[in-house]
């Protein structure tokens, strides 16, 4: 099992969810987060007082998937989230030790 963590532009969330659904991924967890990579922030001015805002709003998606489908799932996310501009985000893949369904103690791939 692998955990795919994707940080994307908030306005791309609907597209990514559609793509994941099409790829047969049913479960996911979504976080509202703030951060930045190479993307520069922006400047806000209130009554002449300037504020540099470099932590920008992003959405983080977590999906846990069986090893065989990691490639296609990551590709689905990347394809839907890409605009080609700086700030599109990143995808990280981590190994997952174990998964247990709370309702009935299913474990491993059966719990996903």
């Amino acid at each position: 099992m692998k955990r795919i963590e994707a940080i994307i532009q908030p306005f791309k969330l609907d597209d990514v969810r559609e793509a994941l659904k099409a790829a047969g991924v049913n479960g996911m967890t979504i976080y509202d987060v703030r951060g930045h990579g190479r993307q520069k922030g922006h400047k806000e001015v209130y009554r002449g007082q300037e504020y540099e805002v470099d932590l920008l709003p992003k959405v983080k998606i977590e999906v846990v998937i069986d090893d065989a489908r990691v490639q296609e799932t990551a590709e689905a996310i990347i394809g839907a989230a890409r605009t080609g501009k700086i700030g599109d985000g990143k995808v990280f893949v981590y190994p997952v030790e174990e998964a247990i369904r709370i309702r009935n103690n299913d474990t491993g791939d059966a719990a996903l």
């Binding site: 806000e44 001015v45 209130y46 009554r47 002449g48 007082q49 504020y51 805002v53």
Partner: protein, 440 residues
Amino acid sequence: MKLSATMRLLLFGLLTSVPMWAQQGDQIDTGDNAWILVCSALVLLMTGPGLALFYGGLVGKKNILGTMMQCLAMMGAITLLWALIGYSLAFSEGNAIIGGFDYAFLNGVGQEANGSISHLTFMVFQLMFAIITPALITGAFAERMKFGGMLVFLVLWAIIVYFPMAHMVWGPGGLMNAYDGGSIPCLDFAGGTVVHVSSGVSALICALYLGKRKGYPGQAKKPHNLTLSFIGACLLWVGWFGFNAGSALAANGLAAAAFVNTHFAAAAALLAWLLAEKIRDGKASTLGGITGAVAGLVAITPASGFVTPMAALIIGAIAGFVCYWSVVILKKKLGYDDSLDAFGVHGVGGTLGAILTGVFANSMVQEAPGGGAAGLLEGNSQQLINNTLGVLLTWVFAAVATLIILKVTDATVGLRVSEEDEIEGLDLSQHGEEAYNLEG
């Protein structure tokens, strides 16, 4: 049964209605009376919810209730004070500085005519001015003042600064009352000096005395909800029609002139501020627009019943640029934390408006107190001198009195919240509640 003198006076006020103020021949005009009652409601609307929303949106989200409570507290405390003693100290016969006790406990203030409106109508209309004036100061010490300290400070401020100011400019025999034998006769239609200069200058002293907010100027000090501020500013604008046009104390042509001037000045100032922002900061902002409108409303206040609509446009435009300069450039240069720019908008805009009233006052709009030319442009330079003297006097009086009241309040109940309370926010630390319970 033996009653103290105070109790007898109170009972007398409750049980009787003696027309002491009424001139022979005064009769209530129902139209005038209806209009001034509506105006009284409009002026109250300026404090709550107008100013409360305007200021509340500008502070952090942990301080909005604390900020709104400062306005609400004035609606309660100043009303009580006004009923007991305030109206009397401001508007009864006394000396040139302050009134006497003739109207204490509203003794002798009843339904009878006072001019063409009921004496009670006049009293309640003036009360609404007394409420908003100290509320304006709260913008200077936003996000760091104890609730109790704020209450004590502003009640003392109303007694020591506002009531004398109202008496000096509008009260019988007041020092600056141009229509009743004042030795420095100032033209102040609706409160340029009484309301805006006095509160604005006091606000500056508060900001200097209390020092900066923790973390100012930093990320956390951005306005948390400009939508609320926008609604508040627009309510202020509407309420200001009651403030200025109501100051005609009749539903007549002069009221219409003040109404038009008020609106015109706000529009011109809003555009001027946006233009200044566009030139200096690159973008015209919502906050700039509403701040500019308020600056225009402040500046036209003393002039609203004395100038032509074209002069109102000019006064508004000048106020937009000058207040932009004071809020954006002067404040940064001097380095004080007038959190919501009570001085930059009300102190500077009020000073400008009072001086420009001496320039643009036009005898075609309202006859000059002594007849003849009204303002500088008509050839009466004395009025400009008088109005400038009135402003200077107000500056000195408000600054000195505020400093003394701050020191006394600080030494007794205390002014500034502890650092922990400031970090936690006024809503929780002062009132035990939160504005936004979004997980609820």
